[in-house]
């Protein structure tokens, strides 16, 4: 059974070997329901600033559900319910507070999806979308931001001569980097990645992983991945989830070398999952 008590955040931090960075965000006793189905149970976990935190676990464990709480994506569908809090620092806002507009949350926290989902627009307009949504009309500023974001997503060199082409004409890996550029263009504080490489080939995957390493210099990243090697490669912290519960959260090295729970070990060594 999965009834093991969740480790206190403080103790996790104390167990860590390196100095503890600042928290960017934190879920406190977060539970989530699809109708009457309890998909997340009482999850408390910090997200450290300018670090990559990976969520791993077998499919259906709630890792994507957890990720999508951070930008209130669940608000789009009726019958969904949150309990508990997700704090965003430094302004100490509870993102799940009903008074907080989900749009405000999404303007501060960007997301990249599992399958690339470019809009049926030009490459340029895809990247500029977030700025346009914010009412930005100055062409020069848009041009700068689009270039900056495309460079940030390591796509600029490949597309700079065809910014007005339809985004659908790009390859899968390019489309996903375009979606990352789209998310970067608005200077988010915090980036969510929902299995961003699951639809991509190994080369495109390597590109995106390199990108993640570069990005964490500037932003906080929370990433869901179905691929443990990927979690080990890209993340600083890892959380293992199972059946809607957080089993273990720690520095990635610790999780992979010396997991604190039998279950985590079984999953990581491939005996289950």
């Amino acid at each position: 059974m999965v009834g093991t008590p969740i480790p206190e955040i403080a103790s996790v931090a104390a167990a860590a070997t390196s100095p503890v960075p600042a928290k960017k965000s934190e879920s406190k006793r977060l539970s989530f329901y699809y109708g009457s189905f309890n998909a997340l149970k009482n999850i408390s976990m910090p997200i450290y600033e300018k670090k990559v935190t990976a969520l791993i676990g077998p499919s259906g464990c709630g890792k994507s559900t957890y990720l999508r709480c951070f930008n209130r994506m669940h608000d789009l569908y009726p019958g969904n319910r949150y309990e508990g809090q997700i704090m965003l620092y430094p302004d100490n806002t509870n993102l799940l507070n009903p008074d907080v507009d989900p749009i405000e949350v999404r303007m501060r926290i960007s997301m990249v999806f599992q399958k690339p989902n470019p809009f049926p627009k030009s490459i340029y307009e895809n990247v500029a979308y977030g700025l346009r949504v914010r009412g930005e009309r100055k062409r020069a500023l848009l041009d700068d931001k689009v270039e900056e974001a495309l460079r940030g997503a390591a796509l600029w060199e490949e597309v700079k001569d065809r910014l007005n082409d339809l985004a659908f004409n790009l390859s899968g890996g390019q489309q996903q980097r375009l979606c990352i550029a789209r998310a970067l263009a608005t200077n988010p504080e915090f980036l969510l990645f929902d299995e961003p490489t699951s639809a991509l080939d190994p080369i495109a995957t390597a590109n995106i992983e390199q990108l993640l390493a570069d990005l964490k210099e500037k932003v906080t990243i929370l990433i869901v991945t179905h691929n443990m090697q990927q979690a080990a490669r890209v993340s600083d912290y890892t959380a293992y989830m199972y059946l809607g519960e957080l089993i273990e959260f720690n520095e990635t090295d610790t999780i992979f070398i010396k997991p604190g729970h039998k279950q985590t070990e079984d999953y990581i060594t491939g005996r289950f999952g």
Partner: protein, 310 residues
């Protein structure tokens, strides 16, 4: 850092408030647009009921049309509509269901099938009056069927054929392959599978299409005018059942006729206001007929969606 974030959050909030106004404005515009539809419908219905209600007596249904507006009735019109619809059903249902079954279960993937499919889509978009011209040239003058119940029924059958074919195909397509495979696995032939499983299971969907098609046929006016429905008819076609042997007669098929929408058109285009009241009364009858048929079809489809989960 914290101050900067606070300023940024305040800016974002102001921006969202501005943008969200458009959500509200569009929501209102959307409801208003729907209301235009609703109000038109209410106005149309009430206008017709208020004008027509005093004329809706028993006599109205049992009288022939007359030169005196308050004695005129719709007897020949509703009898004519019934007879034309019988012909339409007899022609359109077997042809439409047969075509639908063929296209879904039998048709090989070749140019002939593509041609038939494109044809059905295109026919659905042909204006009804063009069907009238087809009937005039083909049924009346080439085949010599005359300006008869039969001609009108066949014309309307061709008109609603695409509706029935499309409904049949959609109903068949919603049956999972497992049912077909199950039947074939027991050694059934193609036709046995179709007759024992595919057609019975898709009946509610087919029925929906047939009802919608018939509701449309009942209301069609233009093609019936071109095939020469009479606008003033003071007799009924010969009854299909006779007192003497051979007891059944098909003379009614070749008889002249009028139908409800023609009767209404005739009264609407009269200058006298009294006849326009008759038109309103006929309109109420026609509306009730077509609306209740459409409502029935919508209800069957709703039940279908709710009950059947393959």
């Amino acid at each position: 850092m914290s101050d900067a974030t606070a300023v940024k959050v305040r800016e974002i909030r102001a921006l969202i408030a501005r943008h969200k106004r458009w959500d509200v404005i569009f929501g209102i515009i959307g409801v208003l647009s729907l209301m235009i539809g609703v109000l038109t419908f209410v106005a149309l219905f009430l206008d017709m009921v208020i004008d027509g209600a005093p004329r809706l007596t028993w006599d109205f249904f049992t009288n022939f049309p007359s030169r005196k507006p308050n004695q005129a009735g719709i007897l020949s019109a509703w009898v004519g509509t019934t007879m034309v619809m019988i012909v339409t059903i007899c022609a359109a249902v077997p042809l439409g269901v047969g075509a639908g079954v063929y296209l879904e279960e039998y048709a090989p993937r070749n140019w002939m099938t593509d041609l038939i499919e494109i044809n059905v889509t295109n026919l659905a978009g042909v204006p009804s009056i063009v069907y009238g011209l087809l009937a005039l040239g083909l049924f009346i003058y080439e085949f010599g069927l005359g300006q008869s119940v039969l001609t009108a029924g066949l014309t309307l059958a061709l008109l609603i054929l695409p509706v029935i074919i499309v409904a049949t195909r959609e109903a068949i397509r919603s049956i999972p392959a497992a049912i077909r495979e199950g039947s074939y696995a027991l050694g059934a032939t193609k036709w046995q599978t179709a007759a024992h499983h595919i057609i019975p299971y898709s009946l509610p969907g087919i029925l929906t299409g047939v009802i919608i098609g018939l509701a449309r046929a009942i209301g069609e006016t233009a093609p019936i005018i071109t095939v020469g429905a009479l606008t003033f008819i003071a007799f009924l076609p010969p009854a299909p059942v006779q007192a003497e042997p051979p007891f059944v007669s098909f003379e009614w098929l070749m008889s002249g006729f009028t139908v409800m929408p023609i009767q209404m058109f005739n009264w609407t285009s009269r200058p006298e206001a009294a006849f326009q009241l008759n038109a309103a009364a006929a309109g109420v009858v026609l509306l009730v007929m077509t609306l209740s048929m459409n409502a029935l079809a919508i209800y069957i489809r709703y039940r279908l969606r709710k009950n059947i989960k393959w």
